[in-house]
Amino acid sequence: MTLRLPVYMDHAATTPCDPRVVEAMLPYFTEKFGNAGSRNHKFGWEAEDAIDTAREQVASLLGCNEKEVVFTSGATESNNLAIKGAAEMYEKRPAGETGRGHIITCAIEHKAVLDPVKRLVKEGFDATFLQPPTDGVITAEMVRAALREDTILVTLMWANNEIGTINEVPQIARLCKDRGVIFHTDATQWVGKMPTDVEKDGIDLLSFSGHKIYGPKGVGALYVRRRNPRVRLVAQVDGGGQERGFRSGTHNITGIVGLGKAAEICRLEMDAEGARLSKMRKRMETALTHAIDVSQINGHAEKRLPHIANISFGFVEGEGLMMAVKNIACSSGSACTSASLEPSYVLKGLGVGDELAHSSLRLSMGRWTTDEQVDYAIAEITKAVHKLREMSPLYDMHKEGIDLSTVEWAHH
């Protein structure tokens, strides 16, 4: 079979919708278009039933009660609701004062967590941004050391979107429970890929989105614990009182049906899929780091998601490299690929040097990634790195035995 190009290796950015998900959604655009809020006719009941089913499907994936699932527009909204909603609910002092409460998060969280926390800091809360170690894994010990008397919320991602590393979430959740602190996790990269049991792990709030799990874009969910303790939140979107008042707005019925179906498929297929992707990722990492000298895997070698590889290739720049492998859709931590012209704050945050951030590629595999595609990517990337090194003054210097860290660069 001929390989169809370009090859998609950016599943950490988004995933295609599973055709089974699309099929489940379709009737809800046309025939079953009702508003779940219409309590007095068939159209409304159909919509309500569909939402109930989706809620059960999501609850089974998370290991929670369906009453604990709040549908949102995606993980960004879920994070905003969880973080701002919990901070405002559990504040030590009212708005307008300082010392309203302490929040713990980490410097390499997604912006959808960092920015809400930063806004809260402006509004009188305090925050600690934990600095990750070079392997990227946040441990319970680090959180323990940062906890204060006035800590009201800990928000840490389950797995990192750029490097794929997994934080010690169950241990951190337990620690928070012991201290009576609310624990939220942005599990956008984790849910649907790895087994999740919020009950067993004692998680209070958990965010994720549909489009990372082969569902549609524009829909997500927030798990909100109802017992032991009952977590309360100040709603961030006011209106018709949908989602038990947590999130007003007419239900995105097609999206919710899609999210539910996507969750169900992930629950049933996760184990086999994870094993397959993990094998693929390891094969790619091994092949590339063997074929290319001065290359390194970013993030912890084992404590990582099955499908996300992040590798830095010394002496070549990420955007230039992506241009050379234009038939592989992937991403880079290079400054040139970001609107801000700053290299990835995640890779910088690991303290491994800006240079490695500039030279990194993230390759994330998914449900339909084939061995043939992986072979193609390995061959193309190897070829491209060698080609670019022929053009790289840094590689020449390296071969001449010059230590690049001792060179006095003409800073631009």
């Binding site: 720049e317 230039g320 012209l341 800006d354 053009m391 840094l394 020449d396 690049l404 003409a410």
Partner: protein, 144 residues
């Protein structure tokens, strides 16, 4: 971001890639001017070398090596093309804006052209210094 055809052409078929010897070699050669600008942690480093015919004062050959994005590689490739055959003073007249125009660089990539102009100035400056030619009046790229 979509690149212009000219950037893609220079990126895929870079002109004059290479050098006239190792770092140590070219340092001692009076007919070679070397400019290395940028820094690895900034994501781009350009190395430009010019070979000048001492009899005519013309740049007879130019080579580059660049660590950087597609625009940085294209800007330096273009610079070597333009430098060949020019006198060193004519070379100094190349402006980053000329490179921006020729390659249709988008605003976020203007710094690549500035870096190329800096590399030209650095290489010519090195040649002048090695040969005791006084540096011309200091001029700076206006896009800094």
């Amino acid at each position: 971001m979509a690149y212009s055809d000219k950037v893609i052409d220079h990126y895929e078929n870079p002109r004059n890639v290479g050098n006239f010897g190792t770092t140590a070699d070219v340092k001692t050669r009076k007919d070679i001017g070397v400019g290395v600008v940028g820094a690895p942690e900034c994501g781009d480093v350009m190395q430009l070398q010019i070979k000048v015919d001492p009899a005519t004062g013309r740049i007879e050959d130019a080579r580059f090596k660049t660590f950087g994005c597609g625009s940085a590689i294209a800007s330096s490739s273009l610079a070597t093309e333009w430098l060949k055959g020019k006198t060193i003073d004519e070379g100094l007249a190349i402006k980053n804006t000329d490179i921006v125009q020729e390659l249709s660089l988008p605003p976020v990539k203007i710094h690549c052209s500035v870096l190329a102009e800096d590399a030209i100035r650095a290489a010519i400056g090195d040649y002048k210094a090695k040969n005791g030619i006084p540096a011309s009046a200091p001029e700076h790229a206006d896009a800094h």
